[in-house]
């Protein structure tokens, strides 16, 4: 019983890592030439920064109603740690928060 529980604890992460890797590879391979254009077309009314905000920060919380420009850098750094922002997303969100 113990061995079965133990193997289950290793099986779940391995299964998800395998599935995730396969999905990541498939997504990267299929969307390289088209994904950006398709995404841009479907979201043509929003800026890259707003899209990046919604795709990262906005997954947990709404944007703050008011934001002092003096603290946008601090917030971005905080979110870089919390939400593991990519460099491009960080730049785009900074433009969105402090145009």
């Amino acid at each position: 019983m113990k061995n079965r529980r133990c193997s289950w604890n290793y099986f779940v992460p391995l299964l998800v890592l395998s599935l995730g890797s396969w999905l990541a590879w498939a997504q990267a391979a299929s969307s390289a030439p088209q994904g950006g254009a398709k995404a841009a077309a479907s979201n043509s009314t929003t800026s890259p920064g707003e899209r990046a905000f919604q795709a990262n920060c906005g997954r947990c919380h709404n944007p703050p109603e008011q934001l002092s420009p003096r603290i946008t850098g601090t917030i971005l750094r905080h979110m870089r740690v919390r939400a593991l922002l990519s460099p491009q997303d960080e730049r785009d969100i900074l433009k969105f928060l402090a145009p």
């Binding site: 299964l15 599935l19 990541a24 420009p69 603290i71």
Partner: protein
């Protein structure tokens, strides 16, 4: 006393941040005080209690590569003296949820030392803030992988292995030492989390693993799936976790009615929420924080996003278990604040 010491540490860090920021033209890097004030009321199987809460967050950049962050939770807990009747009596509880120093080494790696939220699953790191959580109560499986307090004292590395427009692969690894100091209680443990995030699909799939390294060593594993389509305001979050004595899952759906005349209309501020959760007990695990028997819980919530960062939440939960069914009614009002610690450079 330990809480006051933690607050003093953050004040000293804030002062250091002011000195650092004076050396450059960092007009956007003024330290912030954020967080929320809340009033939570709950009635669980006829017993009413309420909690006034203050949850301040302090974030202070130190130079170009360091960031100090902390979150405290200060709350009173008031309930009837005789269980269901009599005058209310209360206690005050304060805790340091994180007090950490981050070193932003590169675009791919950030190293953290101090007290941090244990990165098992997604709920603990992302949804425990009272101004973010959709339901007042944490999921039933929350104790799996987050022993002993939900926070860890040690070191953590995190970052992005891959950050392409089509896919992000993120990693977190941590080690925590055992600590019994007040405000800094933690278990000796180690673990990791991997996330695969597809921004165009707004789909995230991830896995967590944790090994508890004190007393009886044991493993916990989990997986999470989040999907938040960009075309409509639906949020689907789910987690599964398997611990040494029990396993379970939760799936939460929220749909903000912002497509009805925009997010600031009377109807558009409404957000119905539903959560289904189940736990399955494999073996008795006294003190593990999980239900003692197989349990199914249905949570129905309605959140109303008022102007000025105020939010009103109400929910009803029906808990079904062989040791007794229960009705849980929750109401909460939260106000989220965010402002700079001082004026700073213009």
């Amino acid at each position: 006393m330990q809480l006051i010491r933690s607050a003093k540490i953050m004040l000293v860090i804030g002062a250091c941040s002011m000195l650092f920021s004076g050396q450059g033209s960092w007009a956007q890097n003024v330290p912030i005080i954020s967080g929320a004030l809340g009033f939570l009321d709950s009635t669980n199987t006829g017993v009413n209690f309420f909690q006034p809460v203050a949850a301040p967050v302090v974030v202070a950049p130190l130079g170009k590569h360091f960031l100090a962050e902390s979150r405290f939770d200060l709350r009173g807990f008031y309930s009837p003296k005789n269980g269901t009747s009599g005058p209310y009596q209360g206690t005050f509880v304060g805790s340091t949820q994180y007090l950490q120093l981050d070193y932003l080494a590169s675009r791919r790696a950030t190293f953290t030392v101090g007290r941090f939220l244990t990165p098992f699953g997604t709920y603990n790191e992302r949804l425990t803030a009272i101004w973010i959580q959709k339901f007042q109560d944490a999921p039933l499986i929350f104790p799996i992988g987050t022993r002993t307090t939900g926070s860890s004292d040690g070191v953590m590395a995190r970052g992005a292995l891959l950050a392409k427009p089509a896919v992000h692969i993120n990693y977190i690894g941590y080690f925590s030492a055992s600590s019994s100091a007040a405000q800094f209680q933690a278990g000796r443990a180690a673990g990791y989390r991997f996330d695969f995030y597809f921004p165009s699909k707004r789909l995230e799939i991830g896995t967590s693993y944790g090994r508890f390294l004190q007393g009886t060593h044991n493993n916990s594993s989990g997986l999470h799936v989040w999907w938040q389509p960009s075309r409509f305001p639906l949020e689907v979050r789910s987690e599964y976790a398997h611990g040494p004595h029990a396993q379970g899952y939760w799936i939460e759906n929220a749909y903000r009615l912002s497509q009805w005349r925009g997010p600031d209309s009377i109807i558009g501020r409404l957000e119905p929420v539903f959560r289904l959760q189940q736990t399955f007990r494999n073996t008795p695990g006294p003190g593990d924080g999980l239900p003692p028997a197989n349990t199914t819980q249905l949570d129905f919530g309605l959140d109303y996003h008022l102007p000025h960062e105020v939010r009103l939440n109400g929910s009803y939960s029906r808990k079904l278990s062989s040791v007794g069914n229960a009705n849980i009614w929750d109401v909460s009002l939260t106000y989220r604040f965010l402002f700079p610690m001082w004026r700073g450079h213009q």
